[in-house]
Symmetry: D2
Subunit: 282 residues, 4 copies
C-alpha cells in the first residue's frame, strides 16, 4: 500500500496536532499510523504520520505546497516522502561479510524497501557475493599514506549513484570530515560495542580486558567526532568468562547485523528524527 510519510519537528505549543490533523482530515487523508512526542528538556515537539496516498486528492508536490503555510506558522522542520519512491542506498564494506550479506538478503527477499545502488569496498573480497545479487561492486583501495584519492573516488561514486543513504556495513575506514558534513544524517554506521563504551578500535578486546558480562552493538549516524553521532539503535548479548575474544567476535557479528538492519529499516521508513545529538525513533 502506497503511503506518504509526513515527518515534523517544531517548537512545542498548543494546537499543532489540531492544525495538522485538520489539514489531513479536510483532504480526507486516511492516517494509518500516527506518532507524537513532546520533549520536555528541549521544548520541541515531534510527529510522524503515515497517510494512504490513494485517500488524498493530490500528489506529493501539491501536498508540499498546500502544507507549507502550516509548516511556516509553527516553524516546522519537516519533510514528506512517498513510499513509491524508494530511497537509493550505497553500501560500504571491507572484508567482513556478515552485515553486508545480511542486508543483501533482506533486500533480495523484499524485506528492505530500498534500491541498493552499489557496493563500495576497500577490498575486492566480496565482489562475487554482491554481483550475484545483480548489484555493481566498486573496489576502491585506500592507501594508508594518502587516503584522499580514495575518498575523492568514494565521494564521486556516492554522487554518481545519487545516494540518499550511505551504510557503513563494517567499513573499517574513518570517513573524512567533509564527507561526514556533506551527508549529515544520511550516513549510518554500525559500531561493534555498546557506545559510549569502547569507542574506537578493537572494542571486543577492550570488553574482554574489562571483563564485561554483556557485549553490544550500536547503530548511529556518522558525525565528524568518531563514534559519537546520534544513536539509532542498540542491543546487547550476554557473555561469560568461558567466552574467548573469538567467541565475543562471533556473538558480536549477530548483534551487529541485527542492530544495523533494524537501524537502517527505521531510517528507510522515515522513523528517525534527529534533534541535537539525540534521536526520536517512532
Amino acid at each position: 500500500m502506497r503511503t506518504f510519510r509526513l515527518v515534523i519537528a517544531c517548537p512545542d505549543g498548543v494546537g499543532i496536532v489540531a492544525k495538522v490533523s485538520n489539514f489531513l482530515a479536510s483532504h480526507n487523508g486516511w492516517i494509518t499510523e500516527a506518532s507524537h512526542h513532546s520533549d520536555d528538556q528541549s521544548g520541541w515537539f515531534f510527529m510522524r504520520h503515515e497517510i494512504r496516498a490513494d485517500s488524498l486528492p493530490f500528489g506529493i508536490e501539491a501536498f508540499r505546497e498546500a502544507f507549507a503555510p502550516i509548516a511556516e506558522e509553527f516553524s516546522m522542520v519537516w519533510r514528506i516522502t512517498d513510499t513509491a519512491q524508494k530511497k537509493r542506498v550505497v553500501l560500504m564494506a571491507s572484508r567482513e561479510s556478515h552485515c553486508l550479506a545480511d542486508l543483501l538478503h533482506r533486500w533480495h527477499s523484499d524485506e528492505l524497501d530500498c534500491e541498493i545502488a552499489c557496493v563500495i569496498s576497500n577490498h575486492d573480497d566480496l565482489r562475487s557475493m554482491v554481483e550475484w545479487h545483480g548489484i555493481p561492486y566498486y573496489h576502491v583501495p585506500v592507501d594508508p599514506k594518502d587516503k584522499e584519492p580514495a575518498f575523492a573516488e568514494v565521494s564521486r561514486l556516492v554522487k554518481q549513484h545519487e545516494a540518499e543513504v550511505v551504510v557503513l556495513a563494517r567499513y573499517m575506514q574513518i570517513l573524512p570530515p567533509d564527507l561526514c558534513k556533506e551527508y549529515a544524517g544520511q550516513v549510518i554506521n554500525i559500531h561493534h560495542s555498546f557506545l559510549p563504551s569502547f569507542v574506537g578500535a578493537k572494542p571486543y578486546h577492550q570488553a574482554s580486558l574489562r571483563g564485561v558480562k554483556l557485549i553490544g552493538a550500536t547503530c548511529h549516524y556518522v558525525t565528524e567526532e568518531l563514534d559519537a553521532g546520534p544513536i539509532i539503535e542498540q542491543d546487547v548479548v550476554r557473555v561469560s568468562h568461558s567466552d574467548s575474544i573469538e567467541d565475543m567476535v562471533r556473538f558480536g557479528r549477530d548483534v551487529e547485523k541485527m542492530v544495523l538492519a533494524r537501524g537502517l529499516r527505521y531510517h528507510l521508513e522515515d522513523r528517525v528524527l534527529v534533534h541535537g545529538n539525540k534521536t526520536v525513533v517512532f
Copy 2:
C-alpha cells in the same frame, strides 16, 4: 503534574483525530502525551491523550459533558480520568510474599500511583508485613468443600472498600464466574508461565518436564475461562538443564513480580484498552 487521561476506542474512519485534537485545541488543552492505533483486522481505532489539567478551563465533569457529542458522533467507547483521583486497589494474596512485597514497596516509595484499600488473603501469614505499611489485612480462609461463603465475604470486602482494581498477587484460588463477570477488566492476575503454555497448576513442573529453555510470566485480566483473559504484559527468563524446579521457581518469582508491577502500572495509568480478547497497551 495533574493530568486528565482521555481514552477512546471506536470504529476507524477519517476525521477522528482532527475532531478530538480540535476539541482539545479549542479549549487550549496542553497535550503531554498522545498515542494512536488503527487495528486493521477489527477496523477499530484506539487513542489515548494525556492533557495538563491546569491548561483546561474546566474540570472533569464539564469535560465529559462538552466531549459527549463528539463521542456520540463516532460511537466511541471512552473514558476520561483525573490523576488527582487515585484508583482504589485491593490486593489479594495467599502465602507467597514476593509479588505482594514488591507491590507494597513500590506503593510505599511512591512509584505506584494508587490507594491500596486493603489486602485480602486466604492465609494469615503476611499480616504483619501488610500492617507495617498501615494497610488493613483481612484473613478470609477458603473452605475447599464450600468456597461460596469465602467468596461472598471477598465480594463484600471488595465492595466495602470501593475497589476499582483487584490484583491477584499470587492468590492461589480461582475466582468464581460471577465475580469475574462483575469486575470484568478490573481484576488483574499474574500467571507463572508464558501463556498460553502451561495453563493451570504447577506450570514450572510442566515447564521442567517439557525441557523448555525459557520460563515466563503473564499478567492478564481475569475472565471466566481460566488463564485465558486478555494479556497485558509478559516476560521470560532463560533457564538451562542445570536449573532445578526450585531454581525455576526462584527465577520465576522475579519475572512474576516485574511483570505484575508493569502490568498494574499500565492499568493504573489508563494505558490498557481491551478489545475482544486482546489489549492495546499505549
Copy 3:
C-alpha cells in the same frame, strides 16, 4: 586446534569423574573444556570433555578401545568425536530463504564447522542461491496426494550423501515417522513459535489471535510426535499491538534463524545430550 570430544551419560555415582579424569591424565590429555551435570530427577550423570588431540599418544580408534572398559564399568552411553572429521549435513528447505541463507553464510564464512553435503527442497526457488555456494541442490516436489515417493527420494538422497545431520530449515513438510525414527537425534527442526505454545501450522496467526506480547522460536529434534521432540534452544522477541501479523512474521524470521543457527552449532560441537525428552546443552 584439533580436539577430541568425549561425551558421556550414565547412572550417577561416586568416582565417575575421578575415573575419567585419571584416564585422561594418565595419557597426558590436555583438557580444554569440561562440563558436568547431575540430574537429580533421573539420577543420571552427564559429562563432556574437549581434549587436545595432539596431547594424546593415540588416535580416536585407540582411544575408543582404551576407554571401553571404563565405559562398560559405569554403563555409559558415550561417544568420542574428532573435530578433524567434519559432520556431514543435509539442509532441507521450502520457499522461504531466511534460515537457509543464514546457515549457508555462516558455513561460507567458516563459522559453522561442518560439510554441507547438499540441499533438498520441495520447490526449485532457492537453487541459484545454493549453487552459488557450490552445493548440490535437489528439487524433490511433494505430491500432496501421495507423499511417499518424495520421501523415499529424500531418504535415498540423505543416505547417498551420508548425512549425519539433517536440518529442516523451514522445510514446510512433516517427515514420515519411519524417517524420524531412523534418524532419531539427528534431525533438527526450527519451529516458529515458543513451544509448547502454538504447535502446528500458522503459529503467528495463533499468537496474534491470542494477543501475546512475545513471540518465539524453538529449535528441537524431530520425533514422531509433531513439534514435541527434545528442545535444544529457544528465544523470543517482544511484539505489541502495533505489530501486524506481517510484522510478527518478519520479527519471527530473525529469531528463527538465530535460534536454528545456535541449536545447530551446539549439535555440531557435540554439546547436546538427549535424555528422555529433554536435553542437556553444555
Copy 4:
C-alpha cells in the same frame, strides 16, 4: 542439604582435575556440582566443586588438612566453605530503599542464604523498615567536610559485626581506600549504569544526554579506583526517546536490584573467583 564448596584457582596443567577428583572419590565424596574453566590468556585454571557434606568421612578442618598437599603441589589459591556456616553480611544504604528492601525481602523469605548482621546508613530514613526485619540499624552520618570519623565508625561496626561481606546497596558515599584494601574482594557495589559507560555520578543524566537506547546496572567488587573493580554481573533494560530521566531512574531501580541480588547470591554461593581485574562466575 549441607555441602562443602571447594574453590580453586591455579596455573593450568595436566592432571589437576584427576588429582582433585581422585582425592574426592577416595573419600567417597558425592559431587553435586562441578565447574571448570581454563583461561587461555592468563594460563590459569579455575574450578569449583560442591560436595555433599554427609558423604565425606570428615569435617571441614580435616578436609583442609588432607587437601593441603595437593593445593601446594599445584600452587593453588583455594578455599573450602561449609554451607552450614552462613556468611555474615553488612548492608549499607543511603536514602533510596529499593535495593535494600529487595535484599531484605529475599533474606526474609529464605532466598538469600546468609546472616544479615546489621544495616549501616548515612541517613536515618530506612530504620523502621530494617528494624521490622529484626535487624540492627546504625545511623552513621557523613560530614562532607570531614568524612574520616564516619568511616572510622563504619570500619568499627563492620569489624564488630564480623562481616565477611559488605554490600553497598545504593550507599551514595565513596569508601576510603584503606577500607577498600582491607576488604578487597568482600565489598560489593551496585553501580547504576552499564560500566564502563558513565562512571561516577548521575549516570542516568549522562545516559539521557548521550541518547542511549539501553540503560544498565553493574554489580562489581569495590576497589580503590572508582567503579573500576571486577564485574560480577550486569544487565540492561530498553529505553526510548519517550522515557524521561525519571522514567530511566525508575527502570534503573528494577535492573539495579535484580543485578545486585544476583551478584550477591553468586558471591554467597562461592561462585565468583577473582583473577586480576576479571571474574569467573561459575
